[in-house]
Assembly symmetry: C2
Homo-oligomer: 198 residues x 2
Amino acid sequence: MALTNPTTTVPSKITIYDQENFQGKRMEFTAFCKNIMECGMDNIRSLKVENGAWVGYEHSSFGGQQFVLERGDYPRWDSWSGSNAYHVERMMSFRPICCAVSNHKDSKITVFEKENFMGRQWEMCDDYPSLQAMGWCNNEIGSTQVQSGAWVCYQFPGYRGHQYIMECDRQGGEYKNFREWGPHAQTNQVQSIRRIQH
Amino acid sequence: MALTNPTTTVPSKITIYDQENFQGKRMEFTAFCKNIMECGMDNIRSLKVENGAWVGYEHSSFGGQQFVLERGDYPRWDSWSGSNAYHVERMMSFRPICCAVSNHKDSKITVFEKENFMGRQWEMCDDYPSLQAMGWCNNEIGSTQVQSGAWVCYQFPGYRGHQYIMECDRQGGEYKNFREWGPHAQTNQVQSIRRIQH
């Protein structure tokens, strides 16, 4: 069977529920939501991404921990939350990732060993569950430049731990140091990286 | 920079510690460990995969939940454990994944809609963070046949939730139904699949 991507020309869509397993109050969105409470929803306990790729945030106004949300069913908070050590049982805002490419072979990111695009560098066009397995020197990266598409960097190998979403159309695709990865970034530890799929 | 895989000819190696952050008692392994307590270690609280790809298990004798372990640093249990809902804070046995290929372009798996290799089928050679985004009909798969390499299937999109490791050199690469995925498999829900990298 040759599968094709049916979402190419369909707008992004997410459905959220205030109970687990797609129960309770239900709302549909095709664009960002800055604060679910202002939309009349106290909490998100399950969700379905019907189209597109999205990013969810722990806090309102796109703050706190980030979670990439690709098409599929998320029946409980732990199906999207990244880090077990620091439980995030809520998602207060979300937005579509507009620059995620349908043909994600076109995604490109350059990873630098040091801050401000210095040191050893590596141009990536593929997914890497372990940077070290591919010869990267240590468990950290200093800065990144996203040439195209959207990417998610993870603290641990195998796409685990804190997530840092990086996009070509945000801050010029330039992430000079870990403080620009998001307010929840505490270290520059990154051990796996992958493209975000539309 | 062109990175190459330096692990190709190096044997698998894992170092385990009985305290978090690579502290406390330390042991190195280059082959499987059926029961860490028989090796004189009460618990694993952190680990480093120095070479190869490994699978860790919740219980001794390779039982319970499974966790894929690729090269890199795992400073706490939550850096490898898969499911937040059902906390697994221990790993009692582990083994190298021998058939994980160095050039993981050679990996191949066929996914079937129904049990016993029936229904709609899809031959995969790449990583898929969302099967539904690629046109798969629902959030489940019925059976799988691994033609080459080693794969990990995940319950939720984006490589989250329960993990099911499937290898070409185990049970002939044939996984007829979800009960053959492992003793912890409760449903046939699978929403993302990727190759395991050596």
